[in-house]
Each structure stands twice: as structure tokens, then as C-alpha cells.
Amino acid sequence: MTISKLVFIELWKRKSQLITGLLAITLGIAVIVAIQSVSVVSEQNVARNLDNLGANILVLPQGASIDDYYTSDIDAPTLPMDYVERILNSTIAGVDNMSPKLTRRVKVGDQSVVLTGILPKSEIASKPLWQTSGLTGAQLTTACAPNKTANISHGLEDEKLKRKAIDTLYSDDCLAGSQVANRLKLRVNGRINIMGKEFKVVKILPETGTVDDDRVFANLKDVQKLLKIENQVSAIEIMGCCNAISEGLLSQLRNILPDTRVTTIGQIVSTQIETNHLMKKVTLVMLIIIFFVGGISIGNYIWANVNERKREIGMLRMMGADRSAIYKMFLLKALILGVAGGILGYLSGTLAGVVLGPYLAGIIVKPVFIYLLWSVLLSVAIALAGSLFPTYLASRFDPHTNLQED
């Protein structure tokens, strides 16, 4: 017999009370886990959708305006292609995708089109992109930058060709915006002659309602050679992590690219930041509510248990159990409830998320195993915090008064 064994026996022999005690904390943890599990997938979806809005940072030549970027004037200033390498070789964190572009308005027959040279992703040297690891690293990454598999339809497979790097675009191939294809009567696998060079149209892009509809996209190197502006680009579009932007990514870019104009596409950035903040606030509010509700429930349960066992506590104190033994009795019980509640809460919360996610939120929720650890830690913290005061009072009980009660 030990105090620990006494606790286990008491728990086992009073199963109905154990279940009651477990219920509150299990439900609390289950709610958090379910909400978190759904939130993670929702965040991934939101992040993917926001990512599809395109780049949120523009690196323009010094003196260039946003108008220059969109109007693609023939004499619009350019910046060196080396700047891409400079960003890639830096230690700046928070750069997800990069897309250097050279854009010029050119004549095709009697029609004016905007020729845009884009660098396929496969031609950009690989670099460890923005990653924040840690216990919740994966979640944080997806909150701002989709993971490798979350947004694989870049490039030719991308129906809308948003402003970002594409995977492959071979020399002599081009993509045509819907408007320009209509005007020039282009078709897939047809040919287009631009400034004396033949390009094969590999894709007609669907209408987007943006300037992209009037553009013809070709490999950046071909366009640079054609326009005789080699190793120069009009702009570098960057998909930056919104958190990193708010934490000074722009000034870091300005430091390594001093003779450029680094600007953000404010609406995208603010939407991303607001979305992330909202998600975090909702989770925080839930955590606080569960912490207090769970703590009070467990505290109430332990207090009821203490009152029920006054005679037992009194007798133990009389027989020589010191206050630490009383603390051990009730805090160990709270610890067991916390661990069990955390595990059960994680299992039931995950199950609820997996089962209800597709019905309620239209998303497929997968178990997040790291939440098991967090669930147990949170549950134990709640249980111990809720039990501390009742246990303190139990340790201060006057033994003989409690023994003389009946």
C-alpha cells in the first residue's frame, strides 16, 4: 500500500465519480481539439486561396511606379536579373515564391499585345524557403504559405496562371491570355510570330478579368533575347509570408536591394494578416474559456471529493500523514484525470473533427498527432490548476474536527 495505490484504488472503486470528473475535462479538450483540427484545414484552405491571389510584394526598379509595371511601356526601367540570386543567396526568411518578369508592349501584326517573360520555377535555384518549425511548425507554415502539396497546380496546369512562378515553360513555347487569343485568333498548338520569332501556343488561358488576359507569356530568357534586354527584368514578384512582412521582410529586402523600390500589394497582405490574426484570436478565446470552465469543473469535482473524504483525511492526518501526503493524494488524482482527460479529449475531438468536418465545413480533416501532446499538457495544467485550492484546503483540515462530525 502506498499513497499512489490508495489514489488508484479510490478512482477504481468510485468509477461513476471518475467518469463524472473526466467528462468535463474530456469534453473541454475535445472541443478544443475538434476546433483546432478543423481550423488547421480551414487555414490551409484560406492560405491556399490567398496564395492564389498572387504575389504580395513587388520589387521594382528605383523610380518605377506601379503604373509602369502594368502599362509595360517600352522604355520602362528595369533591374538586374542578379537580384533574384541576391535574394536566393540571402538569409532572409519569409520569401515563399519568386517570379522575375520582363514585360513589354509589342506589336503582333497590327495588334498590340503585352509580352511577358516569366522564369519557370525549375530554373530558379532551389533554396530552403520560408519554414518555421517547432512543435506546430507545419501548421504555422500552412497558415501563411501552403506546403509543397497544397498548391501543386502551378504553371501550365494552373487554370488561371496567377502571378507566380510556374513549374516549366520551355523555350519557344508560350501561353496566351484569353483576350489576346481571341483577338489574334490563336489556338492550342498554333503558332504566333512575335518580333520575328515563332512561338508555339501551348495553352490558352481562361479569362481572368485582369491584365493577364491581354498578355502572351513566354520563357524569360527568350523574351530578354528578343527584346535585347538581357539579364534585366521589369519586376520581381514575391510571395512573402504575411507574418514575415509584418515583421520587417520589406526592410530586409530593401537592405539587400538598395537601388530598388520594394512595395507590397496591401490588400492581399492585410487580408492574410487579418485572417491569421482572426484564427489565432478565436483559438485563444476558446483556450481561455476551456481553461476556466475546465479548471472550475475539476476544482468543483475535487472539492466535492475532499468534502466527501473529510473523515478519511482526518484519520490519515491523525495517523501521521503529513500535508505533503494530502497534496499527493489529490494532485495525483488530478494528474491522472488530466492525462486521461487529455487522451480521451484528443481522441474524441479528433474523431469529431474527422467525422463532422466534411459535413459541417466541407473539408477533409486529418488527425494532428502533435495535438495529443498538447491536449495532455493542457488537460493536466487545467486539472492541476483547478485542484490546487481544494487540495490546499484539504491539507489544512483540522483532523479531529472532521473525525468528530458523525
Binding site: 490508495l6 484504488i9 468510485r14 490519515l316 491523525m318 495517523m319 501521521g320 503529513d322 479531529h400
Partner: protein, 230 residues
């Protein structure tokens, strides 16, 4: 001398006044004594019993136990003395309802951190001694009142204390069971030379004492020593 109290004063403050629950009580107990403390309700006999080992703190006075002054030591030290040297028997048995008989008896050994096997061995021996060898796995609720009190007695002696403090141990029992328990306490006292200090309001129980203290209004008004083998 096993236990000595001198000028013990215990005052309670009540409705602006002071009540002397123990009013300059002095006594001595020798090793092997069977002390009975009698007196009417409210005379202070239970207060005396509980105050000796610090369950009620004294207002003044000195208590010496086994050659050591214990009225001025802290709660932790008193708890340690109770754990090792004192066994308590109470009127309501105070058994833990969800533990079996043997588990209840093992508790004082658990508090002393006696190894598990040794606990089982000693608790079994004691339960055999009190005639409950066949009730070891029973819960208290499955035992009669007399059996429950014998479990409580077994629990009070399993850790081989120097003194047993019994507060109305037969208060909840009918006369025949009371005699059985009293005889058993006498047996423990005589066979194991364990000192017993027993509070009782029963004249029959008081006759078992070899040293008899009678209290009234917090004072010892009669003290008598009789032949302890009688």
C-alpha cells in the same frame, strides 16, 4: 516515565469570553499503563487526549513524551511522532470505506514507507491476532460493528506504537461487544506492554484502567492508580 503533562491549559474564545477546556491539568503515565480518562460530557477528556500529540494545540503547559518535550515542536515533527509512536482508535472506527480490511490495516505502514511485502506480512499477522484472518479481503461495509472496531484496533497497533490513544472506542458498540473490545485492548496492553490512554464515559470501561483520571470542568478532580495486573 512515558508521558507527562504539566499545567496544561487549553482556552477557547467564545462570544467574547474565555472558556478553559483544560484548566492546568497535570498527569503522568508510565510505560505499560492502561489509563482511563472519565468525566461528564464537556469535561475536557477528549480535548486532553487530542491535545497530547498536537491534534489540538495547547494554550500553555508542557508535555513530555518518551523523554522529549513535544508541546513546543512544529506540526511536521508532531506528525512524525504520531506516525511512528502513536496509534489512534476512535468511536466511529474511521476506516476507509473503499479499502479492504488488510488495506486499511496497512495504511500506517504505508505512511512509514514499509516495503509492500513486509506490509502484507505484518498486517496479516495483526489481523490474525485480532481474529479477522478470514476477513482480510472484506470491505468495512461487509463487517459487523465489532469487527470494524477490531480492524481499527489492528490498524492502531500494526506499526508497533508506544502508546494507543483511544477516544470512546466502545461508544458505538452494544454492551457485549464493548466488553469484547475492552478485553481485547487489555490483552494488547498486557501481552505487548503497549501503553493505552482511553477516554470513556462508561464506568464499566473505566474499570479496565490501571491509572484512572477523572475530569470535570477541565480539571482532574480524581486520580487513582490500581494494580495493573488486576
Amino acid at each position: 516515565m512515558m508521558l507527562q503533562g504539566e499545567n496544561i491549559l487549553k482556552q477557547y474564545h467564545h462570544k467574547g469570553g474565555v472558556i478553559n477546556a483544560l484548566d492546568h491539568v497535570s498527569f503522568t503515565v508510565e510505560k505499560g499503563d492502561f489509563v482511563t480518562v472519565t468525566g461528564p460530557s464537556g469535561s475536557g477528556k477528549s480535548t486532553l487526549l487530542l491535545s497530547i500529540f498536537g491534534l489540538i494545540r495547547l494554550s500553555s503547559g508542557t508535555i513530555v513524551f518518551d523523554g522529549r518535550r513535544i508541546d513546543n515542536i512544529n506540526d511536521r515533527q508532531l506528525t512524525a511522532i504520531r506516525k511512528i509512536s502513536v496509534g489512534y482508535i476512535l468511536q466511529g472506527f474511521a476506516l476507509i470505506p473503499y479499502l479492504t480490511t488488510i488495506q486499511n490495516v496497512m495504511i500506517p505502514l504505508a505512511l512509514e514507507k514499509v516495503p509492500g511485502k513486509e506490509q502484507v506480512k505484518r498486517a496479516s499477522e495483526i489481523l490474525d491476532y485480532v481474529g479477522l484472518a478470514d476477513r482480510m479481503e472484506h470491505l468495512p461495509g461487509e463487517l459487523s460493528a465489532g469487527q470494524q472496531q477490531r480492524v481499527a484496533i489492528a490498524r492502531s497497533i500494526v506499526h508497533r506504537p508506544k502508546i494507543i490513544m483511544a477516544d470512546e472506542p466502545t461508544g458505538n458498540l452494544d454492551p457485549s461487544l464493548s466488553l469484547e473490545i475492552l478485553d481485547f485492548l487489555k490483552k494488547i496492553n498486557q501481552e505487548n506492554n503497549i501503553t493505552i490512554m482511553m477516554v470513556t464515559h462508561s464506568p464499566v470501561a473505566a474499570e479496565y484502567g490501571t491509572r484512572k483520571l477523572h475530569l470535570n470542568d477541565g480539571r482532574i478532580i480524581k486520580s487513582k492508580i490500581v494494580n495493573r495486573k488486576s
